[in-house]
């Protein structure tokens, strides 16, 4: 089978599965992806009846983490889940946000999603695009270009170690082998190795872009608080100010809340309309948690979020005051 055929098979399997589940009354809704209104964009899609299943698609544009919708969607539901979506589902299950019996997970192995921002930066507004066997042809306002998928794979997906769902009721497509047996954090290490002032300058610049629209938070499957600390009136953790110091306070608070839980799906960064490098912060926490506590979030249902547990031997030298 060619890549296109494989993809089409997955799509038809998704549709068939959805049709069956809905027809049998096993679920009330299937949460998957549909073709978006813009080129290279997919959009979350909620299918309520067997008649609508043909709007479901699957390809490299399916970038949203659908786990973000699951807890808020009432009834029994099926969800099309990539590796990262499934990891988020695991954390949500660990944190009592989901009832496993109400959930049917259609697992799909994922080679990664397209970083359309990168393409947009080169070709301008994208007018048309097509994907075929690992190649992406784009027609843009500033010119046309053809890419290999690997060139425009989202940064998150480049270090992904869990392309296959870690929890699922049904698997579609072939399993993907990943070579990394240990998590790679070259991006974080590179930032760590910069000087204090370089790092400060970098995050100042990033934070000055943030407009506090909270798309990052709302796109995150694990930001499900009834009331986010930024919205809390008493105490006021943050003022209403939108400036880089306040924004950093928000982002720092948020990543601390995600520390040991974040599944590194990259939804926050992709959701950000301003291109703030939010993932840089989450990745740092992910690296620390991995290195200090040998913990990766959402890879097994038995696991617990890293900050919910401790060991008497947890490292402490690096943060205790030097005497």
């Amino acid at each position: 089978m060619t890549g296109v055929q494989r993809m089409n098979k997955i799509i038809s399997d998704i549709r068939e599965t959805a049709r069956q589940l809905l027809a049998d009354g096993k679920v009330d809704v299937v949460i998957g992806y549909a073709k978006g209104s813009l080129p290279l964009k997919a959009t979350p899609c909620f299918v309520h009846s067997a008649q609508e299943v043909d709007s479901l698609i699957w390809d490299e544009t399916c970038e949203n983490n659908l786990a973000a919708f699951v807890a808020k969607t009432p009834g029994k539901k099926a969800i099309v889940a990539k590796g990262c979506d499934s990891r988020a589902l695991v954390v949500l299950l660990q944190e009592n946000q989901l009832v496993r019996d109400d959930l049917y997970i259609i697992g799909v192995s994922c080679h990664g999603v397209i970083d359309q921002r990168k393409i947009g930066a080169e070709v301008g507004e994208i007018l048309e695009a097509s994907i075929s066997d690992g190649k992406i042809s784009v027609k843009g306002m500033e010119g046309d270009k053809e890419y290999l998928f690997a060139e425009v794979k989202d940064a998150t997906c480049q270090t992904c170690r869990y392309p296959n769902p870690v929890i699922e009721d049904l698997h579609l497509g072939e399993l993907i082998q990943v070579s990394q047996d240990v998590a790679a954090f070259a991006d974080v290490s590179a930032m760590e190795n910069k000087s204090e002032s370089e790092r400060q300058a970098y995050f100042k610049e990033q934070m000055s872009k943030c407009i506090r629209c909270y798309a990052c938070r709302n796109a995150c499957p694990l930001c499900y608080c009834q009331e986010c600390f930024v919205d809390c009136n008493s105490p006021r953790w943050l003022t209403g100010g939108v400036d880089r110091a306040e924004n950093l306070l928000f982002q720092a608070g948020r990543v601390l809340h995600l520390a040991g839980r974040c599944v590194d799906c990259g939804a926050c960064s992709r959701a950000c309309p301003q291109g703030v490098d939010i993932r840089a912060l989450n990745r740092k926490m992910t690296k620390d948690v991995y290195e200090m506590y040998n913990h990766e979030s959402g890879i097994s249902e038995e696991g617990k979020p890293a900050l919910n547990v401790y060991s008497a031997n947890d490292p402490e030298e690096q943060f205790l005051v030097k005497e």
């Binding site: 660990q94 944190e95 009592n96 946000q97 499900y224 608080c225 009834q226 009331e227 986010c228 600390f229 809390c232 008493s234 105490p235 006021r236 953790w237 809340h257 617990k304 979020p305 900050l307 919910n308 547990v309």
Partner: protein
């Protein structure tokens, strides 16, 4: 026994045993008279730096108990006091106490230390083992209770030179004391108390090493005792925890410990093992390494390394394998001073194989043993108690705590050397025993304070009253108190602010009370000393004025300001203003907090009907509580039914039969025998346990006494030949006159079978003694028998050392083998041959054995895991129950209302099992004595609207007080269990759970005012 029992108990000695017993009894409804010879309570523990095997800071874990004991309404503490006379009988004693003059009025002294500052006399500080100096006006240690100074009349200039002659010599302290607390005319007094029972725990003294001149103690400066070394390590010691040699301040790089100094020595009538020295030496060696800035080489010279306690072996292995402590099995001949003028000491010793060596050390620490204290002997004399040949009290067999006199109980080192947890266990056991004796009189003598009805301040405009204390000159001489007062007046909510010379004085309290009424104050802030010592005092004043005690906060502008910034008065004043401001902010946001009461079911459930379970059940039943005893076996008695005799020769069969008889006939005990447990739910005060037969038992507390199991050896051909048996089997064979043992000539005992190995890394504690006992039994019956005991370390701790010594004396042969050269058992035809390498002869030894007795390990009970899940209690790595605190809460679980005793906690002998069983019953009795489960109320609470039921709070709560209600999707705090640490609140991402008295709002508002 007297018919007119009295509901109060006299406790002699206020070390950790006395404090624990006093707290247990006072909390269960008895008036306690606590008599302490020295000027402060605490005993030996405050002198120790860290405690094994957890390396806990001794002072840290003790000090909350000191405070609690010190301010308990029903504990009357008499310091500088001794019991001088006693008459009467169990249930009703009249005791005369003599209290020596302190010369400082406890009522007036604020503990400020001005007297000590002014006192010109410097003498050796006993608390620091003479390594430092103190004044004649002194406090033993800074956290001491009473938090008051005293004058040492033997050294005070006025007392020694002035008073008799009527001359006003010195008296600098009188001038220095702004509180007018010093009264040099104070006189000793004698008074009588009536008590129903007595608990004696006068403690121990350490062996005087100078009496053995070959150790050089007292002549060689670099030879010190282990207790002196503790003070060197201690952060509050004479060198502030800086590890140096006392005489030249040199940082030692090479330190040696010599074990058994004054222990295991029959020549000086110290033929017992002090039990604690091996562990403390290892601990000191490890801590020394951690403590020092430079690498330290540590060596321990020992005969047998005796680490048979819970988790001790692990500690020892860690020291040996990971920390690099050297262990040399040896016999030390002498310690001499190095010839090179370095001040060092040289140890001459012989190793196991007979080589004689010597080595030079910067510091030599003598691991001195424990012996009866001087006052112990007087006390035993006065009360006419039986003592053993060493002078320790002799307890009634298999009683754990009973002295030879009815109604008089003992705890701690009074009856022999023991470590802290054993001491604490005995104290709780003694308290339980006293409580059982006096149960009819519970609650008759205790008092409860009454307060005016509480004012409702809800919705009132906040009017904060601020009181800034001068503390004489302590604060006032550094901080500009009036300017702090003026500043306070400008702050939000402050309706009134003033200064006080001593805010804690009686008249100041009266004035605060009056001002609360006059000025309609509804929040109070006191800026003075530490809330840790004084908060309860001021809160008391609030309550007396009708205000809720929590409408209050303190700023510590003395201990944490004026005293530590003495040379920067301006900055100190600024800081005092800021600290006062923060306290005002916090206080203004305080809300009344009411204690929370929950129902208390007064029945106990005991799980496991062995000796531990039956003993606990009886003790609780005698204390007057209904007890359900559940045993899954068809018969009671547990493993003890298979034992013939106890370690002191007691008839175990008769003992167990008697116990079964007692529990079967006790009106308060309901037996559930032959039935297991299906499920457990609930918490302190209201547990419900479902038995396998469907029966449900409601109970307020649970005691887990499920015993252990004998290791089934898969080594040494066990199971392949009837002549190879475990200790229990051999005991049975001897008891039954089995021909296998009756006719045997050659006996080989192999120790550490399944213990101290990879599979079970701990020591099973009892097997060395058991083997020695069995060997003695055989040898005495058949003197011609050849008996070999193959061992790794002979761990005949305590008085069992006598048996070991006797065994060697009468010709039982002890052969040591090492871990990596274990004995080998072969069967050559019908002959059993044991081969072992003898370390002394350094060659293999072959023994033809008629009987091989294997010292099989004691393993954790199988059911531990189930109970662990049901009761939310932890197990240690070896599967034994893990207590709430290894030192101070040895029978409690971290889950309130659940207690443990016996083998399920860790291997131990019968006497120890009984002590622990009584201790568990004592602790359980404290809980059961309450009408209701009460919590202070400074608990976590949940905002249901914000809660997402994520379970983080539940995961981080060590008290198991928070659970998620998945039906209503909200976290629920169990007020009976919540300890108020706030880990849940700081872990809650959505801000749904917070802590009363320390809310996010309060902290953030304080930060806003920073």
């Amino acid at each position: 026994m007297s018919q007119n029992k009295i509901g109060s108990v006299l406790i002699v000695g206020a070390g950790i045993a006395g404090i624990q017993a006093a707290l247990d009894l006072a909390e269960s409804g008895y008036l306690v008279h606590l008599v302490e010879e020295s000027s402060a309570i605490g005993g030996t523990m405050p002198m120790l730096d860290k405690t094994f095997p957890t390396n806990d800071c001794s002072m840290c874990i003790l000090s909350p108990k000191l405070v609690e004991c010190g301010r308990h309404l029903n504990i009357r503490t008499y310091t500088n006091s001794q019991v001088v006379k006693s008459e009467g009988e169990a249930g009703n004693f009249k005791v005369t106490i003599k209290q020596k003059a302190r010369y400082i009025d406890l009522e007036k002294c604020t503990g400020c230390g001005a007297c000590a500052e002014a006192c010109p006399v410097k003498v050796d500080d006993e608390f620091n083992q003479g390594l430092g100096k103190r004044k004649a006006a002194f406090k033993q240690y800074s956290q001491a209770f009473p938090n008051a100074y005293g004058i040492d009349e033997k050294n005070c200039l006025y007392q020694t030179r002035g008073k008799a002659k009527g001359k006003d010599i010195c008296l600098k302290c009188v001038k220095a004391c702004q509180a007018g607390a010093i009264d040099h005319q104070m006189e000793d007094k004698e008074f009588e108390v009536e008590v129903g029972s007595m608990i004696l725990n006068p403690g121990f003294k350490v062996f005087d090493a100078s009496s053995l001149d070959y150790y050089g103690y007292g002549t060689i400066k670099s030879v010190i005792t282990s207790l002196e070394f503790e003070r060197l390590l201690s952060a509050s010691g004479p060198f502030d925890g800086h590890l140096v040699r006392p005489f030249d301040q040199k940082e030692p790089q090479k330190i040696a410990w010599i074990q058994c100094v004054g222990s295991r020595n029959s020549k000086i009538n110290h033929n017992y093992c002090s039990g604690v020295c091996c562990m403390y030496a290892i601990k000191e060696a490890v801590i020394a390494k951690e403590h020092s800035h430079i690498p330290v080489d540590t060596t321990i010279f020992y005969m047998d390394m005796r680490t048979p306690g819970k988790d001790f072996e692990k500690y020892y292995n860690n020291a040996k394998n990971n920390q690099g402590v050297n262990f040399i099995r040896s016999r030390v001949y002498e310690v001499t001073e190095a010839k090179d003028d370095s001040g060092d000491a040289v140890i001459r010793y012989s190793t196991e194989d007979g080589q004689i060596c010597s080595d030079q050390f910067d510091l030599v620490v003598l691991s001195v043993g424990l012996e009866p204290g001087d006052s112990s002997k007087d006390l035993a004399n006065m009360l006419d108690l039986k003592v053993n040949k060493y002078g320790f009290a002799e307890l009634e067999p298999l009683s754990g705590v009973n002295t030879s006199k009815e109604g008089v109980f003992a705890a701690g080192a009074f009856s022999g050397p023991r470590d802290i947890p054993e001491t604490v266990m005995q104290a709780s056991a003694a308290a339980g025993a006293a409580s059982a004796l006096l149960s009819d009189e519970r609650g008759t003598l205790v008092s409860e304070k009454e307060y005016p009805p509480e004012l409702d301040v809800a919705g009132d405009v906040i009017r904060t009253g601020v009181f800034i204390c001068h503390c004489g000159v302590n604060i006032g001489s550094v901080v500009n108190v009036p300017s702090v007062v003026e500043y306070a007046k400008t702050l939000p909510t402050v309706a009134y602010a003033t200064d006080k010379i001593y805010a804690c004085s009686q008249d100041a309290q009266a004035s605060i009370k009056a001002l609360i009424e006059e000025q309609k104050l509804n929040r109070i802030v006191v800026s003075s000393c530490s809330p840790r010592t004084h908060e309860p005092l001021f809160q008391e004043t609030l309550k007396e004025a009708g205000l809720n005690a929590h409408l209050f906060d303190m700023a510590n502008i003395r201990d944490q300001c004026s005293w530590v910034h003495m040379h920067e008065p301006e900055k100190a004043t600024e800081k005092a203003k800021d600290l006062t401001k923060l306290a005002i902010v916090r206080a203004s946001m305080q809300q009344p907090v009411q204690p929370i009461f929950m129902a208390m079911n007064h029945a106990a459930l005991v799980i496991g009907g062995g000796v531990a379970g039956m003993t606990s059940a009886l003790s609780l039943a005698d204390q007057g509580y209904e007890v359900h005893l559940v045993e899954k076996d068809k018969v009671l008695g547990g493993v003890a039914r298979r034992f013939s005799t106890g370690f002191r020769g007691e008839d175990m069969k008769a003992f167990v039969a008697d116990l079964i008889d007692q529990v079967s006939n006790h009106p308060n005990i309901k037996l559930h025998v032959g039935v297991g447990i299906k499920d457990v739910g609930g918490f302190l005060g209201s547990f419900t346990t479902t038995l396998e037969n469907g029966e449900q038992i409601a109970h307020g507390v649970a005691l887990l006494t499920i015993g252990g199991q004998e290791y089934k050896p898969h080594e040494y051909l066990y199971g392949q030949d009837q002549r190879i048996m475990t200790q229990i089997e051999m005991d049975e064979a001897l008891y039954n006159h089995d021909s296998k043992v009756e006719n045997a000539k050659n006996f080989v005992f192999i120790q550490c079978v399944g213990s101290r190995c990879d599979e079970n890394p701990y020591c099973s504690r009892t097997c060395c003694t058991k083997s020695v006992k069995l060997a003695l039994k055989v040898k005495k019956k058949n003197p011609k028998a050849n008996i070999f005991v193959l061992y790794r370390d002979m761990r005949t701790y305590g008085y069992f050392e006598e048996d070991y010594e006797e065994a060697r004396r009468i010709g039982i042969i002890f052969v040591r083998y090492s871990e990596n050269a274990k004995p080998v058992v072969n069967k050559e035809g019908e002959t059993l041959v044991v081969t072992v390498t003898d370390h002394v002869l350094d060659r293999p030894l072959e023994i033809e054995a008629d009987v091989i007795c294997l010292a099989a390990a004691i393993k954790a009970p199988e059911d531990g895991r189930k109970l662990s899940k049901w009761f939310k209690i932890p197990l240690n790595a070896d599967g034994f129950f893990l207590e709430a605190h290894m030192k101070l809460r040895p029978v409690d679980f971290s889950t309130d209302g659940v207690f443990m005793a016996g083998i399920a906690h860790s291997p131990k002998n019968m006497e120890e099992v009984i002590t622990q069983a009584k201790a568990a019953a004592g602790r359980a009795g404290v809980a059961l004595s309450k009408d209701q489960v009460e919590s202070a109320g400074l608990n976590a609470f949940v905002n249901k609207r914000k809660c997402t039921a994520c379970g983080t709070c539940e995961a981080v709560c060590s008290a198991k007080a928070v659970t998620v209600d998945l039906v209503n999707r909200v976290a629920v705090v169990n007020d009976a269990l919540c300890k108020g640490c706030g880990a849940c609140a700081s872990s809650c991402r959505c801000g749904a759970i917070s802590l009363r008295g320390c809310t996010n709002e309060q902290i953030v508002e304080m930060l806003n005012f920073l």
